[in-house]
Amino acid sequence: MKNLTPYNQNDLGSKEEYILIIGAKSDIARAVARKYAKEGYQLYLMARDSGSLGEFSSDLRIRFEVKVECLDLDILDYNSHRNCYDSLKQKPYGVFTAVGYLGEQEKAEKDIGESVRIINTNFTGLVSFLNVVANDFEKRKSGFICGISSVAGDRGRKGNFIYGSAKAAFTTYLSGLRNRLYESGVHVMTVKPGFVATKMTEGLDLPKKLTATPQQVANDIYKAQKKRKNVVYTLWLWRWIMLLVRNIPEWQFKKMNI
């Protein structure tokens, strides 16, 4: 067997283990759940109003013959997070966050309530939950954390910079967490999807060639997680698009409509 130091050798993840997905109602989360179930993992699905995951969890059980448990989680109820995580009988081998709230930029500019909701859903709530997870994983010296951020966090633009800045903060958080957990062999992966055809983007006119399906995103995530990648763009083209976007000089960028 290959020497995996400084990673823990037990950290390859046996398929009897659980994957925890939070924000499990999102289309990307569902695709990720199917992908991991297909590979034989058991699942914890967390979402607000987890009762509405009933049909989806039946689907996973019947298709893949895996164990699926649905649990309630309100990402904005920070004080509940520890209890929620502690209630898991068997601690998960990996955690996915697919929580996301796009919100409305224009509304957020006028209404601090909307701004706060965008920021707290996409950032504060996740920090609260992942802190709990990270402490446990660090102690156990195993596991992985995969956070779904966004290319919108790579540079602020007028169309969605409240959402974008919350995602930027989350990206930075994940980067710091990766740094902190490296020594304990816990892997942290940042996923930055570009356009994805989901409920969240329904009604937006997205360019076909740059738009991934949730299934493509899930496949990319699975592959990247197995290879312990740090930052993943999906579709891959977005890495280069965002490289360009990040390198436009600010004096030019501020004049642009993109």
């Binding site: 039946s58 019947i62 298709r63």
Partner: protein, 430 residues
């Protein structure tokens, strides 16, 4: 948008909706719509300016290991059912020649397979389905509950509402392999005799040469078989080859088709030969060839499938094969099949008799030829399959489907005629 035949092409908006509540409010707001599954019907039956795509509604809701009863949402593909259930020893009771269709589409076309003479149509394997009516109301339909809606919706081409989910029986299999017999026949008479002789076999279908005139007219390869019982159910990922681009439309002509036919026919041994083949090659030979519709070129193709009542089948087919051979328009794939008893659904295609399916690329003079064949089909008391049609004149359709009047009346009663329409339904005045 276009269907599998790449003809016709239609400018349209498709709405992708999977949640029942959203579907209901959508129906409230939209003027007219048709449900679109996986786009594998050939003609214009799932096309309109507004289409609602139900493919994401694909959850497996329940499965009873003892009876094989599967409760599943309408957007799930048959290929998904097979992927997860063949390794556990289950198969569809009725399967068409492609697995890439949705459960909803299978109901709406009341599809049939190589075992129609034994198991009947897809609706025969159904216990019930739930249908969303034009006003958003959801009703359960079965052979005992809302029977009229059941009879109208099975084969009803999506014109009665949106099928949400269904309960259907799977059947036990003991292997993923099929023990197949290939019977080579020298003319139409022999082909018919072979069909009758092997009518006890669960699965049967014949490839027929449509271009040979004279003594060899109607020569065929009849393939019959059943599942083996060797316990080999292991999942096999089949390699898929894609047709990467549209072939120029001159590639398929009567000459190249003749060469293909000769090679294909001669490849099989004389008389009766036996093979053991994977169920995918037996049921879905074309599914391993992605985008095979591109072979017919950018102008697309049409599949023409008709059925004749048994007593007129021989004469009718003889006349039609004469007409096709004389026209010189080659059908690349021509499939002949014996059917069992007709069911009571209003618009289901099968009747007891023989059906022939022909693929023609769209070209000048084709529709005239098909009109001529229509004439013969109607004269002999047959009908044409709506799931494959893009051109049949209205009067020919009506004469083939005597129960269409009941269907129309029911549509009016529920206001379906104002909400659910396809280009086909308007063309045919259904």
């Amino acid at each position: 948008m276009k269907s599998w035949g790449n003809y016709p092409k239609v400018a349209s908006t498709s709405f992708i909706i999977s949640e029942t509540e959203k579907l209901r409010s959508f129906l409230n707001e939209i003027d007219e719509v048709i449900t679109y599954g996986n786009g594998r019907s050939y003609g214009d039956s799932a096309l309109n300016t507004n289409m609602v795509c139900i493919k994401p509604k694909n959850y497996f809701l329940n499965f009873d290991e003892t009876s094989g009863l599967l409760h599943i949402q309408a957007g799930a593909l048959l290929s998904e059912i097979l992927e997860f259930f063949v390794p556990r020893g289950w198969f569809l009771r009725v399967s068409p020649g492609t697995k890439f269709i949705t459960v909803g589409g299978a109901i709406a076309s009341d599809i049939h397979g190589k075992n129609h003479h034994i198991e009947g149509c897809f609706s025969e394997s159904l216990v019930m389905f739930r249908l969303m009516l034009p006003n958003g109301e959801i009703v359960a339909c079965s052979k005992t509950e809302n029977v009229e809606l059941f009879r109208a919706t099975c084969g009803g081409m999506g014109l009665t509402g949106i099928i949400l989910d269904a309960k259907l029986y799977l059947k036990r299999i003991g292997s993923r392999y099929i023990q197949q017999k290939t019977i080579k026949t020298r003319n139409l008479r022999e082909t018919f005799e072979a069909f009758e002789m092997y009518s006890k076999q669960p699965y049967s279908v014949a490839w027929i040469d449509c271009l040979t005139k004279g003594k060899g007219m109607g020569k065929s390869l009849l393939m019959v078989g059943d599942f083996c019982d060797d316990g080999r159910l292991d999942f096999k990922q089949k390699k898929k080859v894609n047709i990467p681009f549209y072939f120029p439309s001159f590639v398929l002509n009567s000459f190249s088709v003749k060469i293909f036919n000769t090679l294909y026919y001669n490849k099989a041994g004389n008389g009766v030969t036996e093979q053991k083949i994977d169920f995918e090659s037996f049921f879905y030979p074309l599914d391993s060839l992605g985008h095979w519709n591109r072979i017919y070129g950018k102008n697309g193709f049409t599949q023409y499938q008709f059925i004749l009542p048994k007593e007129n089948s021989y004469e009718g087919l003889e006349e039609i094969l004469h007409t096709i051979a004389a026209s010189g328009k080659g059908s690349f794939l021509s499939v002949l099949k014996l059917y069992g008893k007709e069911n009571e659904n209003y618009l289901s295609f099968p009747m007891e008799g023989y059906s022939l399916a022909l693929d023609f690329k769209i070209e000048k003079g084709l529709f005239k030829l098909l009109d001529t064949i229509d004439g013969i089909v109607i004269k002999k008391g047959g009908r044409i399959y709506l799931a494959k049609d893009a051109r049949i004149p209205r009067e020919n359709f009506v004469r083939g489907y005597p129960k269409v009047e009941n269907f129309r009346t029911l549509r009016k009663r529920y206001g379906m005629h104002e909400k659910f329409n396809s280009i086909q339904s308007k063309r045919l005045g259904i």
